[in-house]
């Protein structure tokens, strides 16, 4: 038994689809509802394994679509047994999809991750009841943990505030998370017009030189993976 694998929601339903094969070398096709098109292919089984080959194929299909259209990429592994459910989702949430397509049209995502080594590099962990003798000691340990966490967050926010404004001003939308983990200072995505890609790359590279103690990993341009959440269909 097979299921439909969904790559993206796109506009321009009457245009030609790119000449590219989908996961498992299956042909891609479009499910057309109004002015929206869901790009799908049939896959064997009821799900798609999380593998390097499949991930790259998912990405390539989406990037091929981006050459001629606005694209809302779906999360890797999105499948359904029934084409009618896709049609219903497109119909019910058409306005949201269209608004999101307008938002990402002509734009790409630049991803930035910045690692740091906080002072003392000591993990801040919750006190465990088994480690203390009485209620007062537990409260003191909790208070110390709270204060250290607050101090570390303040330091991280101050540092991130120096890094991000120059990038954010080039972006039409920004998703930033400060300290998603203790060692990761910043996890950010910037939605930028094609015309701004070169400049944001230059600014990120300059930041790396300016802050040699931080570890930078910047990638892109990507499909606007981080900027389609408001079009989710439950």
């Amino acid at each position: 038994m097979g299921v439909l694998y969904i790559y993206a929601i796109v506009d321009q339903p009457d245009g030609d689809l790119p000449d590219i094969r989908g996961i498992g070398d299956a042909a891609i096709s479009g499910l057309h509802v109004g002015d929206l098109l869901a790009i799908v292919s049939t896959v064997e089984g009821d799900s798609v394994p999380f593998s390097r080959t499949n991930l790259l194929c998912h990405e390539r299909v989406i990037e091929a679509l981006m050459r001629g259209r606005a694209v809302l990429p779906t999360r890797f592994g999105t499948t359904t047994e029934h084409a009618e459910r896709i049609a219903k989702a497109l119909e019910t949430n058409g306005a949201g999809f269209r608004a999101n397509l307008d938002r990402v049209r002509g734009r790409v995502e630049i991803a930035l991750r910045v690692g740091w080594k906080p002072e003392a590099d000591e993990p801040i962990t919750r006190p465990r009841a088994a480690d203390v003798a009485d209620g007062r000691s537990y409260m003191q340990a909790l208070l110390a943990q709270t204060q250290r966490s607050r101090q570390r967050r303040d330091t991280a926010e101050a540092l991130a505030a120096k890094l991000t404004p120059g990038l954010a001003e080039l972006a039409d939308a920004v998703v930033e998370k400060i300290l998603p983990t203790p060692q990761l200072l910043l996890k950010a995505a910037y939605l930028v017009r094609h015309a701004h890609v070169a400049e944001i790359r230059r600014r990120i590279t300059a930041l790396r030189t300016e802050y040699p103690d931080l570890a930078f990993l910047a990638t892109g341009p990507w499909p606007a993976y981080s900027f389609v959440a408001e079009g989710n269909v439950a």
Binding site: L56, V132, R208, A229
Partner: protein, 129 residues
């Protein structure tokens, strides 16, 4: 069915994706390790698989308890910092939080849950805790 965001595939050496690299610090090993931590802790959604419904419900209930515990602890810390609570009350509150911590640890073990399982992903709203 839901259409949701995904993480760009950062950890591949494939030629196509290498062209996506804008810059990477020399000391990138620690950062990529940390990114894998983020990735590993990302799919925190309540499990409602029919075969694991008990664990899914336990995850949901314990998540709510954890949220309440954190809120109560923050309020207690605020009072301690402001000096609006006496020593006897500090001891009582501390004991209550200790017992809650012990009980939560037991329940998580019973249902095979980790701390990060209680920080569920609420989609566009972000993480719960």
């Amino acid at each position: 069915m839901s259409f949701q965001i995904a993480e760009p595939a950062l950890n591949t050496n494939d030629g196509d994706v290498d062209s996506k690299l804008i810059c990477a610090s020399e000391d990138i090993a620690a950062l990529t390790e940390e990114l894998m931590t983020v990735r590993a802790s990302t799919p925190n959604r309540v499990v409602l698989d029919p075969d694991k419904v008990e664990q899914g419900l336990a995850q949901l209930v314990l998540t709510v308890i954890e949220l309440l515990r954190q809120l109560m602890e923050r309020q207690a810390m605020h009072r301690v910092e402001n000096g609006t609570i006496d020593d006897a009350a500090i001891e009582r509150l501390g004991l209550a939080f200790m017992r809650l911590d012990t009980r939560m640890t037991e329940l998580k073990q019973t249902f095979g849950l980790r701390d990060e399982d209680l920080n569920i992903d609420l989609g566009p709203l972000g993480k719960l805790l």
